[in-house]
């Protein structure tokens, strides 16, 4: 690693008090980083410095984050700083950290009930068993939304011997326990189960904490606010009892995964612990002054963030008098052309429509199609489901497009996930043989402009076909691939997709973005159009609990703070109370 790279990069942090404190911190620290505060830049430079100055081989640094997407992002940024030695740093999701660093090496010795060998249940299998457990306990088949509260309970009360668990709804706890039993009997574990097992092992065994402390004296956690209670408890235990140094980064105000058990208070708690240096990144490099002020009006206890340059922006509020589709039409006919006219340097890709659920997305998509506009969609109605195989294909596509040159995805990484898709290959020799055609195919097709359909076809004949035949566990994934392939047919939505666009999850500069608020985290646009901000819909009239209403406000906050220059808020007849808050603050 060239040590100069991060030292030079660090100069950019020097003028920013919070960033510089984070860079100089030598203890546990919790960095509260608001929108556009240079969080990823700060944390990657911090990681590069820690690795260079504090971590000595054979010890390593672990960096845990929320999703594979975040992993790719961090890796790319670290590579740019010259941190590319995988023997020194582990960047992984919580699930994969729990799996490879805790459950696989220690569960058997700790006597924790997990399947041996470890096999992770496909989502469809897990759904099937959950339904079966529900039926067994309740005597009737479950309704449509039964999972959410069960998942939430499972993630927020990890300890099944605790008083809290026993005090919880008896039928719900019974269903969860039955589900976990069924899962284990089928020789499977699910993603939540991995994290829960990891937590249990860390909490109960001093020797495991000692092992982890030796392997990873420093653990960096990005997007801390999204990671939920089990991870928080793991990290506190490792920090307080094993002396692992924790560097946590995140924004409690952007905590919008309450249904997964994430809470904004976890990062705040960490931030206020006496053992932890609390740091605020206050400067917002993204949003114009008006947008920052408006966003603060949404929160009860807003951060004292400020614009770094005092840039002026635009916030407009529109009563359209029509439903979401009408709002979309209005925006596409009136707002979008005006923006492009006012800003000749903007493209469609600089503008995003943000909304709550995929249904609004479909309405907007329809309006866009009517106008012959190309769009990129990222929501639950998204055509490409995120499965293990799709993650693998995305990595492969990123490698073919840019990774082979930039290293944001490495061939080694692709081969590693390939190996995980092929548990049937029992030894290294056969694994090496099996990957040859895959490598050959990837090398021959290192070109982002190849049509996706062709690229998938080539991968299928050279490597995937054989894998599907040999691995019964990939049956679900075979269906996924068939669906994806069907979508690339003439006349289907992904007809014009190239490997490049697929690698970007479909994004390209000349397409307008349609994104759910949840999926918009971490992204930024020149302008944001938010639709469907009706009283009674946002927050939903069914959301009565304080924490639900607060989370809706944070979701709104995330949406507003995606914009650098312009925010347009649309509703039909009666504006959401959140719009009112903004109206009052910016009046």
């Amino acid at each position: 690693m060239s040590s100069a790279a991060y030292i030079e990069a660090a100069e950019e942090l020097r003028e920013n008090e919070g960033q510089w404190r984070a860079y100089e911190s030598e203890e546990n620290c919790a960095i509260l980083a608001g929108p556009g505060s240079g969080k990823t830049k700060t944390v990657t430079i911090k990681i590069a410095r820690t690795l260079e100055e504090e971590i000595r081989r054979p010890q390593r640094l672990a960096c845990i984050t929320y999703s594979n997407e975040c992993v790719r992002e961090l890796r790319g940024r670290l590579n740019a700083l010259g941190v590319d030695d995988r023997s020194r740093i582990l960047v992984s999701t919580v699930h994969s950290f729990a799996l490879t660093e805790i459950v696989m090496p220690y569960a058997a010795m700790a006597g924790i009930a997990v399947p041996n060998p470890i096999a992770v249940a496909a989502p469809s299998k897990s759904e099937e068993l959950f339904k079966q457990a529900y039926q067994t306990i309740k005597g009737v088949p479950p309704g449509k939304w039964y999972r959410m509260s069960l998942d939430r309970l499972r993630r927020t009360v990890p300890d099944k011997s605790s008083a809290e668990w026993k005090a919880s709804n008896g039928q719900q706890t019974a269903i969860i326990e039955e589900y976990e039993r069924l899962l284990l009997d089928s020789g499977l574990i699910d993603f939540d189960g991995l994290v829960l097992a990891g937590l249990q092992i860390i909490e109960r065994f001093e020797w495991v904490r000692k092992c982890l402390r030796s392997k990873f004296p420093v653990i960096v956690i990005d997007e801390y606010q999204d990671l939920g209670l089990p991870l928080h408890q793991m990290m506190c235990k490792l920090m307080l009892e094993a002396g692992v140094r924790i560097i946590a980064v995140g924004d409690p105000d952007q905590s919008i995964y309450g249904f997964t058990g994430a809470k904004p208070s976890l990062l705040r708690d960490l931030h206020s612990m006496p053992q932890v240096e609390g740091i605020h990144l206050k400067l917002n490099y993204r949003c114009a002054t008006q947008i920052i002020d408006a966003s603060k009006a949404l929160l009860d206890d807003p951060p004292d963030s400020e614009s770094h340059d005092g840039r002026q922006g635009v916030i407009t509020i529109h009563e359209v008098g029509e439903n979401v589709e009408g709002q979309a039409r209005y925006a596409l006919d009136e707002l979008v052309p005006k923006m492009l006219e006012d800003h000749p340097d903007w493209q469609l890709g600089d503008i995003a429509f943000l909304y709550r659920t995929f249904r609004e997305g479909s309405s907007i998509a329809k309006a866009a199609e009517e106008r012959g506009l190309r769009y990129f969609r990222l929501d639950n109605g998204v055509l490409i489901k995120r499965t293990r195989l799709i993650e693998f294909l995305t990595d492969a596509a990123v490698w073919c497009t840019s990774g082979w040159q930039t290293g944001n995805v490495t061939l080694g990484q692709i081969l590693k996930s390939w190996r995980l898709l092929r548990p049937g290959l029992k030894n290294e020799a056969s694994a090496l043989t099996a990957r040859v055609p895959l490598i050959r195919c990837l090398f021959e097709n290192r070109d982002g402009s190849i049509p996706l359909r062709k690229w998938i076809g080539l991968l299928y004949t050279s490597a995937l076909k054989e894998a599907f035949a040999a691995e019964p566990g990939l049956a679900d994934e075979y269906e996924t691939l068939k669906n994806l392939y069907a979508l690339t047919k003439e006349g289907k939505p992904l007809e014009h997709f190239t490997v490049d666009i697929f690698a970007n999850q479909g994004r390209s500069k000349d397409q307008i973005s349609l994104i759910t608020l949840h999926s918009s985290k971490g992204l930024e646009f020149q302008a944001v159009v938010m639709v469907g901000l009706e009283h009674g819909d946002f927050p939903s009239q069914y959301a009565t609990a304080d924490d639900e209403i607060e989370e809706a406000a944070r979701l709104f906050y995330v949406g507003v703070t995606r914009a650098k220059s312009e925010v347009h808020l649309l509703y039909a007849h009666t504006e959401s109370a959140l719009i009112t808050a903004i109206r009052e603050a910016t009046a």
């Binding site: 000595r56 081989r57 054979p58 010890q59 390593r60 023997s87 696989m104 090496p105 220690y106 058997a108 010795m109 700790a110 065994f205 020797w207 495991v208 000692k210 092992c211 982890l212 402390r213 030796s214 392997k215 004296p217 029992k426 030894n427 290294e428 020799a429 056969s430």
Partner: protein
């Protein structure tokens, strides 16, 4: 950290070796028993300088006893376990994923040479095999160079050229030490010295007698290869380039009078080891590696026995108080030198020997036996003074004192003309007393598992001369001290544990001969006397004392053995020295070809012979 266990299955002469180790491993065994194979097995796992092509074994490497053709489930498996690493966070970082036991932590690395999986039929050729290396219980947790690099095994082979290596700069263990020091030397100071060296050198070279030589050489060279290719030579002590100056330094011995290349082979070896060790410690201090397993093959080569004992006694005894600051290295040495064997702490000894059928090698260490510290010290002292003979014996006769030791070989040969102890590899071991317990455990199944018999005296309680070693307050006070000894301190270690509680004293005593424990009727000399040696006694005593009364008493007994007064006889023998008397008696018996072997000894001999055949 230390290596705590080695398991080897189906590899060369090892069918199924499983030995536990102490801080170091002193591997003892005769030639061809597989000491080098044991080291090679360790190298497969720990030696970073061994290429993977050497890790791909051959079909010949399968243990010969396996039925050919080899079957699908025949594999070679070598595994090593490590302990005492959990307080070193770097070692723990390396081994954390290979744990097999958490408290105290044990990590395991396994090498396996196996048929390529997915092979439909039985493997046919070497191409059908692959090797894997993995940590812990998980085959997929593969181990590679990274681990070997952090905790390598350095092999110092038997056929080494310590002298040559020391002399050649590129291979010298002195080089890294010098290089390291050189890095800190002030460049200008070095330049100054280099200039001085050059100046002095020039002065010498300018001496007319010498400069003529150089001219001659140069002109000869020019004649041979022409101007273009000529090499210009000059005289000098050392290169005058400051960077190379230090490389010309060499270690001197004998107060600087002689270079190391003139050292004896032995000193060169010692020096080589010392330098290696310093270098290893540096590498650990600098974080280049975390631990070293130093394997030394036949350290006795070229070393005088006294030196062997002296060096290795210190080298291996880094235990006890030094616990807090364990050096970051373990020594694994293989030897057939009794001198080194005799000074090795018992817990570090591994004995390799051929199995009963001689078709494979078994290994023994002393970790399964539960001995008190004082007992271990006794044994170590005994082993020390007897030069480790026990480790090299095929069969052992444990006796109380020197009398038996001197007489037994003779008694045996006169009893049975073919029974030569040396030929059978039998050692008579005198324990100078009656505390057989530790020896029995050392030789027993949990220890060396070496065939042995115990010969001990009956020692009637009502005789004053009897050896009174039992606890007088013992409830079971038998008619004989010997019987109590046999049961309570010998059979205790031999009799099946699960039957011990239910067995009566008499049952255990009665079973003693089945376990190789034999008791006489009185005491060794008296039993000999009564068994027809009375005349020989009189002849033997003649040359040993001028005491007329003793002569008279012995002569009288020679005529009338029934008049024996055991107390008086033993007193007389003691007065000339029991050992001395025994030696003399042996000569007398030998000369007259007199077989006076008492029945308990005859029984013991036939028992032992049965075990050895």
């Amino acid at each position: 950290m230390r290596l705590s266990r080695i398991k080897i299955k189906n590899f060369r002469n090892f069918k199924n070796l499983n030995v536990r180790l102490g801080e170091h491993a002193v591997v003892l065994g005769e030639n061809k028993v597989g000491k080098t194979n044991l080291l090679f097995a360790l190298r497969l796992i720990l030696d970073p300088s061994l290429p993977d092509s050497a890790r791909q074994l051959r079909l010949d490497d399968f243990w010969d006893g396996l039925e050919r053709p080899l079957k699908l489930d025949d594999v070679i498996e070598i595994s090593v376990e490590f302990r005492d690493f959990e307080d070193n966070e770097n070692l723990l970082a390396i081994l954390a994923d290979s744990l097999v036991k958490p408290d105290p932590m044990v990590a395991r690395i396994t090498y396996r040479f196996q048929p390529i999986s997915g092979l439909a039929a039985a493997p046919r050729s070497e191409a059908d095999y692959e090797f894997i290396l993995f940590g812990g219980e998980r085959v997929e947790n593969s181990i590679g160079y990274e681990l070997r690099r952090w905790m390598p095994m350095d092999l110092f082979p038997a056929l080494r050229d310590a002298e040559g290596d020391l002399a050649r700069w590129a291979r010298s263990p002195f080089r890294p030490l010098l290089d390291r020091a050189a890095a800190d030397i002030d460049a200008s100071a070095l330049q100054e010295i280099a200039d001085e060296v050059q100046e002095t050198t020039e002065k010498i070279a300018e001496l007319p007698e010498l400069s003529k030589i150089v001219d001659d050489v140069n002109s000869q060279l020019t004649d041979m290869v022409g101007d273009q290719h000529a090499i210009e030579t000059a005289l000098g002590f050392a290169p005058t380039d400051p960077g190379k100056l230090l490389r010309a330094l060499q270690l001197m011995i004998d107060g600087g009078k002689r270079g190391v290349s003139e050292a004896s082979l032995g000193s060169a070896n010692v020096l080589y080891l010392a330098l290696k060790q310093l270098e290893n410690q540096h590498l650990v201090n600098e974080g280049v590696r975390q631990h070293t397993f130093l394997a030394i093959e036949e350290p006795e080569a070229h070393l005088h026995p006294h030196l062997q004992r002296r060096i290795y006694r210190n080298y291996l005894n880094v235990k006890g108080d030094a616990k807090e600051e364990l050096p970051a290295r373990n020594i694994i040495l293989t030897t057939h030198s009794p001198n080194i064997a005799s000074v090795a702490p018992l817990k570090n000894v591994v004995v390799l020997r051929h199995s009963a059928g001689r078709d494979h090698t078994v290994g023994r260490s002393f970790h399964g036996i539960d001995l008190q510290n004082a007992e271990i010290e006794d044994l170590e002292r005994y082993i020390d003074v007897t030069r480790g003979e026990l480790f090299f014996s095929k069969g052992v006769i444990l006796v109380e004192g020197d009398s038996e030791k001197f007489l037994l070989p003779t008694l045996a040969r006169l009893h049975e003309p073919d029974f030569d102890f040396d030929e059978y590899g039998i050692t008579v071991c005198s324990i100078s007393g009656t505390n057989f317990g530790p020896y029995v455990q050392l030789l027993g199944q949990k220890g060396l598992n070496c065939p042995f018999v115990v010969l001990t005296d009956f020692d009637p309680v009502d005789e004053e001369v009897s050896q009174e070693d039992g606890d007088p307050d013992d409830e079971v006070q038998q008619e004989s001290y010997g019987a109590t000894r046999v049961v309570n301190s010998i059979m205790l270690h031999l009799f099946p544990e699960e039957e011990w509680e239910d067995a009566t004293f008499e049952e255990v005593l009665g079973a003693a001969p089945d376990y190789g424990v034999f008791v006489n009727e009185f005491t060794f000399e008296i039993d000999l006397f009564k068994n027809g040696a009375h005349k020989a006694f009189a002849v033997a005593i003649k040359d040993l004392t001028s005491n007329k009364k003793i002569h008279e008493r012995f002569n009288a007994l020679a005529e009338d053995p029934d008049a024996l007064d055991p107390k008086q006889l033993l007193k007389d023998i003691n007065s000339v020295g029991k050992g001395r008397f025994a030696q003399r008696l042996a000569a007398v018996l030998q000369k007259d070809k007199l077989n006076v072997c008492p029945p308990y000894i005859a029984d013991a001999l036939s028992y032992l012979k049965g075990k050895l055949e």
